[in-house]
């Protein structure tokens, strides 16, 4: 029973070819590069506005040294939000439900911020491991706790995105299969399930966008700490 429900998250292959590659290409196909003329079309203008306002917002708390991460953060945001929202369409595969993909992004980027921090200002970076005003007997314990919390960050980053999207898709599948199976025998219950499904879908659209934003925001916070 559980195996059946999780089957939607199997990395799809067709004749041995991994179809996740096509799913990952979808954002590239949806965003044509803006043309060099002054006034672009609506879609390009919308993207332009989004990227501009997003970058202004996410880079405002970071000092100038960290602004070199602007392209990376913008690309990551566009990539993740597109993958997440496209996955809500029927019969599409969401690559961000794969723990491999989310860890593949979380671990190197988090590690990059940590290495940057330790290279540029090691004392400052180590100082993050001990909050100010800690009573002396608590110092060793707190350093251990803070180190653990530092090391758990990439795991949390990756698993947060995976779990949120997986749970959402799973719930949608459960509720929709319940609604479908109840359709003929208990129509009232089925209509309630359909109402629940509608609300769930709206929630999942929000979650898809918010989780992508949270991923990039947390990365920017880790960057802010180390820059």
């Amino acid at each position: 029973m559980t195996m059946n429900l999780f089957n939607q998250f199997l990395s799809p292959t067709f004749l041995g070819l991994p179809l996740i590659a096509i799913a990952l290409m979808a954002p590239c196909l949806l965003y044509p590069s803006p043309a060099p003329w002054w006034q672009s079309n609506r879609w390009t203008t919308l993207q332009n506005w989004f990227i501009g306002s997003f970058i202004k917002q996410i880079l405002s708390p970071i000092n100038t040294k960290g602004h070199s991460w602007a392209l990376l953060l913008a690309t990551l945001m566009v990539f993740l939000i597109t993958l997440n929202t496209l996955g809500l369409l029927p019969y599409t595969f969401t690559p961000t439900t794969q723990l491999s993909l989310n860890m593949a992004f979380a671990v190197p980027l988090w590690l990059a911020t940590v290495i940057m921090g330790f290279r540029n200002s090691p004392t400052h970076a180590l100082g993050h491991l001990l909050p100010e005003g800690t009573p002396t007997p608590l110092v060793p314990t707190l350093i251990i706790i803070e180190s653990i919390s530092l090391l758990i960050r990439p795991l949390a980053l990756g698993v947060r995105l995976t779990a949120n999207l997986t749970a959402g898709h799973l719930l949608i599948q459960l509720v929709s299969s319940a609604a479908f199976s109840l359709l003929l025998s208990q129509t009232t219950a089925a209509s309630l399930a359909v109402g629940l499904l509608l609300l769930l879908t709206i929630l999942e659209i929000a979650v898809a966008m918010i989780q992508a934003y949270v991923f990039v925001l947390l990365l920017s916070l880790y960057l802010q700490e180390n820059v």
Partner: protein, 55 residues
């Protein structure tokens, strides 16, 4: 859980980073933001009222 199947992990890592590094950034980079706010001009610009041309 099929997500924990380690078989496609490396491939997924390679593919996703390939697309993330090679295909996406050029598209983002070509977006230009021409009207950059400048702190040098301290005076307020003349208020140009504009409205839809009803008449």
């Amino acid at each position: 859980m099929p997500q924990l199947n380690p078989a496609p992990w490396f491939l997924i890592l390679v593919f996703s980073w390939l697309i993330f590094l090679a295909l996406m950034p050029p598209k983002i980079l070509t977006h230009q933001f021409p009207h950059e706010p400048s702190t040098l001009t301290a005076h307020k610009p003349k208020a140009n009222s504009w409205t839809w041309a009803w008449q």
